[in-house]
């Protein structure tokens, strides 16, 4: 049974049947945003975002959220870019664009919980990265945002099977990827690897999508994968876990991701996990508010 589901999913992925194409606004944006910062021109970003009115309005919502550090409301995209700087604005724009990738037909599972998890994880990744002196917090944000892209693919190509896996996980209090594997013969990390490659995401994003539930299988971007994996776990333990409450106890310092990340970030030894956890709980409400405000199914 699960083998059948797996085969169907793989076949659909191979032909990319039933999958959305990337939103037109996102393609040039992702590409453009990948370039080094110096090349970025204020006017170009403003133009790019402003072309899409709905996207522009969403970006303003997000840019004005305290999650992105604003104290006074920006009225225009230009204000927002000036106030937040390029990197934060890239985070905002990519987040809003990616949000439109959800299917509208939800088969009984509210897709906003997946975006809450992704946005929450992105924010946690960035904050965590800054906290331990990780080289590129912006990259950490992007990888956090896209790490569960396989879930979005499941929502498109195997919605009924996927939603029943979610229901099981909720009832059992067990991790989603384990339930997926049980009932569908494939979990969202494997799917995520295939879709993100198909969409030509950068190598680091692909590896994070593929390995975040098994960081020791990562090769080229080990510490990035480890960082996202730990952040993902923190989100799942803090009420940002796809509406699933995993009934277990976790010692982050015993997680494989911790050992991997410590090799690169010696500061990790002195990291105040308790404070970080409380901080993250503090912005959850705002993540909920923001996602419900922004969410627009295709």
């Amino acid at each position: 049974m699960s083998q059948q589901v797996r085969d169907t999913i793989l076949r659909k992925l191979d032909t990319f049947q039933e999958m959305p194409t990337l939103p037109v606004s996102l393609v040039p944006l992702l590409r453009y945003m990948e370039k080094p910062m110096e090349q970025m021109e204020l006017q170009q970003i403003v133009d790019l975002v402003s072309k899409d009115k709905a996207l522009a309005a969403q970006c303003l919502h997000m840019a004005n959220s305290p999650l992105f550090g604003r104290r006074q409301a920006a009225q225009t995209i230009r204000d927002a870019v000036v106030a937040l700087g390029f990197q934060r604005m890239r985070d905002v724009v990519v987040s809003c664009s990616v949000l439109s990738l959800s299917p509208s037909d939800n088969h009984g599972v509210d897709p906003t919980v997946f975006w809450e998890h992704s946005l929450g994880c992105a924010l946690v990744c960035r904050q965590f990265a800054s906290g331990i002196g990780f080289e590129d917090p912006g990259k950490a944000y992007l990888c956090g945002l896209l790490h569960d892209i396989g879930i979005i693919a499941h929502l498109w190509i195997a919605p009924r099977e996927f939603c029943s896996a979610v229901e099981h996980a909720r009832k059992d209090g067990s991790p989603l990827h384990e339930m997926e594997l049980n009932s569908m013969g494939i979990h969202h990390a494997e799917t995520g690897k295939l879709v993100s490659a198909r969409w030509k995401f950068s190598d680091d994003v692909i590896e994070v999508a593929a390995c975040h539930h098994d960081p020791s299988s990562a090769s080229a971007h080990r510490s990035l994968v480890a960082l996202v994996s730990l952040s993902d776990m923190l989100c799942r333990m803090s009420g940002l876990g796809h509406g699933i409450t995993e009934s277990r106890q976790i010692d982050l310092l015993e997680e494989p991701g911790f050992a991997l990340l410590s090799q690169e970030c010696p500061n990790l030894k002195n990291f105040d996990w308790a404070k970080f956890t409380f901080q993250l709980e503090g912005y959850m409400e705002e993540v909920h508010r923001l996602v419900s405000l922004l969410y627009r199914p295709q």
């Binding site: 919502h61 305290p66 009225q75 333990m237 106890q249 308790a274 404070k275 901080q279 705002e286």
Partner: protein, 294 residues
């Protein structure tokens, strides 16, 4: 651009915190170990406001100075901490913590305890105030007697410094405010009406042993031994760094090798003790005594 003006209205109520408020928050965390996350910052602001009114101070910046550089800083810090910690308590104060104890910690402890072949649990509520916390624990344990705790016995030790609170606890009569989080199931099963108040059941009372104990009393602390769980919630905020360290050391010694220590919501042992391991459970954290496997 109607969309955009709607946007700016929506954000007004959600401004990022004042930078000096953030500094005050960090200061409180540093001295008292309790962290006010962004969504709790309003509450901290209100507490500061109260003090600022007393001192006739207008800005957070000036108030931050009172807490850090002015000669009154020590006294003011105590005054603010008193505002923050007003001896409040209630039944089911921290639901995720209670769920974690019941569904995750209890099975783990039973497994370890069974190896010691004494089917008895000892739980300590340190700083129990008027008794809501130990009674909550007791009801949770009673709920498990037919299932997980079948064939087991347990006792709950509940201590506080304050004699009046302890008398209230022993009396076991609670008003609507302190029972506001009490689930209907528990209200019906373990309470009787007493005028407008609720009286806790005699059977629950019998499991809880109240006594007066100052947590800084070195001698008496030595007697608190053989424990499976210690709850010390919203108490350590009153202690300075050195005495906090001593109290935690006593807790460590008093716990069995598999023992757990629980603190209040948003309280942390960072910089206080490295003996305990921090663990995460759904929406709550705890400290365990056992060594890491790595």
């Amino acid at each position: 651009m109607t969309v955009l003006s709607a946007t700016s209205r929506a954000v007004e109520s959600f401004a990022a915190p004042d930078p000096f408020m953030v500094r005050i928050r960090d200061l409180i965390y540093q001295v008292a170990g309790i962290f006010h996350a962004d969504n709790k910052l309003r509450a901290l602001e209100e507490r500061c406001m109260r003090r600022m009114q007393v001192l006739a101070i207008k800005t957070y910046r000036d108030y931050y100075d009172c807490l850090t550089v002015k000669s009154i800083r020590q006294a003011e810090l105590v005054a603010l901490l008193n505002e923050i910690t007003i001896g409040e308590t209630c039944f089911f104060r921290n639901q995720p913590q209670i769920d974690g104890i019941r569904n995750i910690v209890l099975p783990k402890i039973l497994e370890q305890r069974a190896k010691l072949s004494l089917r008895h649990l000892r739980i300590w509520s340190a700083g129990c105030s008027t008794g809501e916390e130990p009674y909550t624990l007791c009801m949770i344990m009673l709920e498990e007697t037919a299932t997980r705790l079948k064939g087991w016995t347990f006792e709950i030790l509940a201590t506080d410094l304050n004699e009046r609170s302890l008398n209230h606890a022993k009396n076991g009569v609670y008003n609507a405010y302190s029972t506001r989080n009490l689930p209907a199931l528990f209200r019906e099963k373990y309470f009787a009406a007493n005028g407008n108040d609720l009286q806790i059941d005699r059977n629950v009372k019998n499991y809880v042993n109240f006594s007066r104990l100052n947590l800084t009393d070195e001698t008496k602390m030595l007697f608190m031994k053989g424990l499976d769980m210690i709850l010390c919630c919203n108490v350590l905020i009153y202690f300075d760094g050195a005495s906090k360290k001593r109290v935690i050391q006593h807790f460590y010694n008093g716990l069995l090798p598999h023992g757990y220590l629980f603190l209040g919501h948003s309280e942390s042992l960072y910089g206080v003790s490295e003996d305990f391991r921090l663990v995460h459970m759904p929406s709550s954290t705890a400290y365990v005594k056992g060594k890491r496997n790595v």
